[in-house]
Amino acid sequence: MPKIKIPKSSPSIDMTPMVDLAFLLVTFFMLSSTLKSPEPVEVDYPTSISDHIIPKNVIMITIDKGGRVFFDISNAEARKELLANMGTKYKIKFNEEQFKKFSFMSAFGCTMQELPQYIDMESGARKAFNTKGIPLDSLNNQLKDWIFYGNIAALNTGKTNYEEAKLSGEEPEMNDFKPKFILRVDGKAVYVHAQNVINVFRDLELNNLNFVTSMEMAPL
């Protein structure tokens, strides 16, 4: 009887399809992921069933676990206008370089007096900057000024953007260009901290606020 021959298979496998697949996936993830802009604090959002995405023209207040308050405004042009107004109000002079740097900065949580120093820092060093957040007590309510002037600046840039969109032949809704107010509050932060910030908004008669939440399935 002849012996049954087991075909000798080569131990090396053709990897080409595997490479194809791997690179396809790499390309997909590279294109679909948006790189996170560096934020000074990590915030863990509470969950809700809401499915509205974050609008474009926003003023964003971040409150971390310990109740520190950070301010951010989305539009680069509005940032410049805001910094100019805040500089005049607090009698602090900023140079061209600082204006430029400020317009590309992410959220910040320092007092107006610390701001020039903070702007001059390298973006890597900013994270290590020891800050107590933007003061909002009644004696030194800097947050109120930030929101007040921020709102004016964001309204102006919103208006220009609206006009531009109109000229380019679209039919824009004015409402989409108005600044919205976003609260990024850490789920573990005590609600009183959020309430203090909300009261600043209410003092300025800005009553329509938005909480950032991560999505959760709606019950059926």
């Binding site: 090396s12 053709d14 990897m15 080409t16 595997m18 490479v19 791997a22 690179f23 996936l25 790499v26 993830f29 590279m30 679909s32 992921s33 948006t34 790189l35 996170k36 959002y45 509470p46 969950t47 809700s48 069933i49 809401s50 499915d51 509205h52 995405i53 974050i54 609008p55 409150i63 976003i182 509050v185 850490d186 789920g187 573990k188 932060a189 005590v190 609600y191 009183v192 901290h193 959020a194 309430q195 909300i198 908004f201 209410r202 003092d203 008669e205 009553n207 329509n208 606020l209 938005n210 909480f211 950032v212 939440t213 991560s214 999505m215 959760e216 709606a218 019950p219």
Partner: protein
């Protein structure tokens, strides 16, 4: 066997012409796969899939101190008192002491789960939920337009019988607790949600309940 000379190329060539080595056209792909999967892992781990969403919240305007008109009486209201991971409520008006024929307010306890607050709200806000179901069906059968549906839904939520909710928090309630409650209110299709400041006597009552 001994004839197998140098190289793997030719089998039985005797010292003849020198041939260029035929290198295999196959490239070893293993390092490339390594690299590809390394990159893949990196992008998978850094990718954020669910972009954060926003939940809108309308706060009541600060009352004008010059305005002396009394606030209108609210029909069918419920007040939630939120503290750290616990939830209490009472319905109707608040009485710190027995007033007239009304006894002093007693706090009821509930929880954030589906059997607690969700069931309670579904019961109290029945008229709106039933009305919404009817509108949903009309929309499905294309009897009404999208815009009419939205307008009718808003009107429905403002009706006299619709439940109005007041939220009061103490100094221990976390933002998660607050958002969880508001989320439940949105699930229950409640139109009027008002976060208001807690009264001192309510805080006392809440503290005595927690102990």
């Amino acid at each position: 066997m001994a004839e197998m000379g140098e190289g793997g190329g030719g089998g039985g060539h005797e010292k003849g012409k020198k041939r260029a080595k035929k290198s295999s056209t196959r490239v070893d792909m293993t390092p490339m796969v390594d690299l590809a999967f390394l990159l893949l892992t990196f992008f998978v781990l850094t990718a954020t899939f669910s972009k954060p969403k926003v939940m809108s919240m309308v706060y009541p305007a600060k009352p004008d101190p010059k305005d002396l008109t009394k606030p209108p009486k609210i029909n069918n209201a419920i007040t939630f008192l939120v503290t750290e991971d616990k939830l209490f409520y009472y319905t109707g008006q608040y009485y710190s002491v027995p007033t007239g024929d009304k006894p002093a307010t007693v706090l009821e306890e509930t929880n954030f789960g589906p059997k607690g607050v969700r069931k309670l709200l579904a019961e109290l806000n029945k008229s709106v939920l039933i009305g919404k179901e009817g509108l949903d069906k009309q929309l499905e059968r294309k009897e009404i337009q999208d815009s009419t549906y939205l307008r009718k839904l808003i009107d429905l939520k403002k009706e006299r019988d619709a439940l109005k909710v007041l939220i009061k928090t103490d100094d221990k309630a976390t933002t998660k607790n607050f958002i969880d409650l508001v989320d439940e209110l949105k699930i229950a299709e409640i139109g009027v949600i008002a976060p208001v400041d807690i009264l001192a006597s309510e805080l006392e009552l809440l503290k005595s309940k927690i102990k």
